[in-house]
Amino acid sequence: MSTERLYIPRGLPFELTDINLADANDDELKELSKESGTALSLDEMKRIRDFFSSKGRNPTDVELQSIGQAWSEHCCYKSSKVFLKEYIFGITSRQVIDRGDAGVMEFDRDHAYALRIESHNHPSAVEPYGGAATGIGGIIRDVLCMGAQPIALVDPLFFGPPDYPAAKLAPGIKHPKYLLGGIVAGIRDYGNRVGLPTVSGGVWFDESYVGNCLVNVGCVGIAEKRSIKRNAVKGPGDILILVGGRTGRDGIHGVTFASAVLTKESETESRGAVQLGDPIMKEPVIHALLETNERGLINGMKDLGGGGLSCVVGEIALSGGCGAEVDLSKVPLKEEGLAPWEIWVSESQERMMLSVSPRNVDEVLHVFRLWDVPATPVGEVIKEKIVRLRFQGEKVFDLELEFLTAGPMYCRPCGITKARARMKESTPKVKNRYDKELLRLLSSPNICSKEWVVRQYDHEVRGNTVIKPLQGKLGHSSHGDAAVIKPVEESFRGLAIATASNPFAVNLDPYRGGKTCMDEMCRNLTSVGARPHSFTNCLNFGDPERPDRLWLFKEAVRGMGEVAAALKIPTPSGNVSFYNESQAGSVLPTPTLLGCGIVRDIRKCVTSDLKREGNTIAFIGSTGPEMGASEYYRLVRKRSLRVPDVDIPALRAGMDVVLKGIERSAIVSCHDVSDGGLAVALAEMCIGGDVGAEIDISRMERLRSDVRLFSESNTRWVVELKKGKEKLLPKDRKVRSVRLGTVGGTALRISANKRLIDAEVDKLSAAFNGTLWRLLG
């Protein structure tokens, strides 16, 4: 089929084409969508055709491209919005200040913090170094455009097994080890250069990520409340100033690339959709922008992310109840000869749009010149809610914003598949000793020390990281549950940051899995002494047009929403990433949560490493035979559908007990019980403290030994109590707490009437620390 007759070039010195939708039949409409690279569906194309018919003209290529960006899954959340509205959006608190490109929450009387996490999966799967680096760049801009100084980065990553046989890789798929190396280097080189500490994250491994790795990037910022800006213009007459990097052909169709399944051609066809990062453009942009904002020269700002100018101009104008006129010929370019539509949709990095009153323009331009950052007035805000574009004097675009931004919203079918309900249960044999199992768990890629990754990121730059990602006695370290930043010089109030995700649980039981992720996030924050305050999430799922995948999404969101609503933890920002699929199928359904908590006084914070011989070790929470999705069952290759549930009143009570215990200085170390269960949690505390422990688990619930040792039931913590202050740990009948034993010796010894585990800490440490170095070098 040839659609050539439907393209009508204007015959200008530059490329501008009218697209004759009026005369196109259904097949041709589909073809036109494909050729434009916009991935618009037939129904959507028809809606566009009818709209332009009513105007009595055809769209230009610039207009069609722009609609394609605005209506992509990535930009308008057309498949997810219906569920998010039902379960998540309604959760609010008086402390939510704004829900813009990043969410903004109250920190203290005078300050606010901003938070957001999003995915950069597909670009990173094609070009790991650049994809990950520009992911960081983008998330920093989201926080920055709220008027906040970025203060911390978070990076949860998901890969195929690093020892995956190369021969099994499908065509076009890159090896997990190569992806991991490139992505960590991309985050390192961008984050370190731009001067932000990477304080939290995680690395997960599973075969489902072989074809489609996940790279989630989060950022947190701080601002005085009076500096917080909306992503909106103030009113007609505002000048739109484009600042930062130049515009080029990199990153064209990034959003439509993100809204389709990866194929073996992605490597060659979509390389151009990956942008190029430049941290040394971003770093001065941060300075110049915060300085001009501080001086009250900026009315509103917004970052150029997915869809580039085409999305930012309409959105910033419409948020202020206005429209805009832009001259595309003024946009500084990387190279000559870009067509207007390319300039309009390019996702070149390091760009922001500022809305500035005319009297302040010169002063703004001066500050940017001092920092050698390009800043160019490109347009003006108008009263009508219309965007008009000119290029070399020619009108190339004239669209009502209400149409452009009214992307479709779908209520797609979703449902459980039969295969899922039929899974068989199996249980391992009871054993006398579990030393070997503990060592194997500690060295498994999902549990082992991530020091190989963590130390490549600067987690202390800015000098405010009070609780670090790696914790322990000097020369020894284990994972902490959350990091704590002290963001305000004059105050001891702290902001705790934690990451949580459990794709294994979500995959087996998405509703309980969603709840589990929330529980883990709350446990992590509580462990350092922080009260959970808000969270943002990145929901990485498969193709939403397939009912079983969408069902996973819906159920996970329902579970998460239930816990968040009960605990009144709002989510002022979030991101959905669908189409995480390759030839081999979907990735595990992977919601990643970035939780923020408030610490009243950072000097009370605790870490996970055991502190002193003779101190008591206690256990808070209840354990059940919920072995579904546990690391132990994956290790011994057994299956159970019993995914841990969350008892919300117990969670609330448990958090109170731990927080009060920390505030009263009774608790001197604390670790949440998650992957690998109690035995792994204890081992990690011993490794960080370089000291042993004598543990008796016979006072726990009557359960099989392996369940007591390795169950991943929710809402549980291990705490070390300071000698003489044990009684200060509060009691609450909604939450169980039992004495486990004492700190001391050089080995971790666990028994219940008879010895179950007896392992030297050195040996545990070697197992825990060796894995990634062995796999990655």
Binding site: R188, N192, R193, V194, G195, P279, I280, E283, P284, H366, R369, L370, W371, D372, V454, R455, Q456, Y457, D458, H459, E460, V461, R462, G463, N464, T465, V466, I467, K468, L470, Q471, G472, K473, L474, G475, K486, E489, I602, R603, C605, V606, T607, D609, K611, V668, S669
Partner: protein, 276 residues
């Protein structure tokens, strides 16, 4: 001179990224620090009100970061920009006995500029040393222990007792101090004789250990050096990150007392306030 009269120039260009915490370290001690862009000293693209003169400051600080991206040898671009326009001012500043501090990227810049080790004159034409890529060939962010070996020349460590081990963390990819290989031993000896070596990387027992206690493979475990007069000091680790106890990596084990880095800033302030 009173502390409140001490003006500190915290110099930056694009990619300098530790200026805020360096600025705060001096501010907390009651001095008057200011974040100054290099263009404010050279007078490029600035208004008359923004223009600054190096001679008006008592202390010059080159903070850490990745100035201009460090896409060539770390610190080389900042050094070249500074040297081409400010060489005379810098030499005068140093000759007047005013202190210059270079932390991490700042140390790299001082070496690239020729202000360190400066074994002959205030500023050598070409660098006499280099901060090469770490032996591990990667960026490393980790706690490091430094033993003070300086015998008294360095004005930035007067408050630190001899042989004391301080916890001052490192975060760099290019921190391996090296000298021309054929003369390395002789140069190290000369530095020792001149009392130009200030800090060495050690293990918790105080021994000159290898990786990871020495994070980069530096010659003789050297972490920081000064010029012969002791008023120009550069080190790879970051004292500004441990100004307070609660940013020490293991502070929850021993929460009392000041941060180990604070003494560096107090020492130089002692020197400046006593001087005039």
């Amino acid at each position: 001179m009173k502390a409140s009269h001490v003006k500190v120039c915290v110099l930056r260009i694009e990619g300098t990224n530790c200026e805020e915490e360096s600025y705060l370290a001096f501010k907390r001690l009651g001095t008057k620090p200011e974040k100054v862009h290099l263009k404010q000293l050279t007078g490029t693209d600035v208004t008359p009100e923004e223009k600054r003169s190096l001679a008006d400051y008592q202390i010059l600080v080159l903070p850490g970061g990745f100035s201009a991206g460090d896409y060539v040898r770390a610190g080389a671009i900042f050094a070249a920009r500074m040297k081409s326009r400010l060489a005379k001012d810098l030499v005068e500043f140093v000759r007047a006995g005013k202190p210059v501090l270079g932390i991490c990227n700042g140390f790299q810049i001082l070496v690239e500029t020729g202000l360190l080790p400066a074994m002959s004159g205030e500023m050598t034409e070409i660098p006499e040393a280099v901060l090469g890529t770490n032996d591990s060939a990667r960026f490393e962010c980790r706690p490091t222990l430094l033993r003070k070996v300086n015998r008294g020349s360095c004005v930035f460590t007067s408050r630190i007792p001899p042989e004391k081990i301080s916890l001052i963390p490192s975060a760099h990819a290019e921190g391996k101090l090296m000298f021309p290989l054929d003369r390395s031993k002789q140069i190290v000896k000369e530095l020792e004789d001149n009392d130009q070596i200030v800090f060495k990387y050690v293990d918790p027992e105080g021994n000159l250990s290898g990786y990871p206690w020495c994070p980069n493979g530096s010659t003789d475990n050297i972490a920081g050096i000064c010029n012969r007069e002791g008023n120009v000091f550069g080190l790879m680790p970051h004292p500004e990150r441990v100004f307070f106890r609660f940013t020490h990596p293991d502070w929850t084990r021993s929460p009392d007392g000041p941060g180990d880095g604070r003494a560096v800033f107090e020492s130089v302030l002692d020197y400046v306030t006593r001087k005039e």
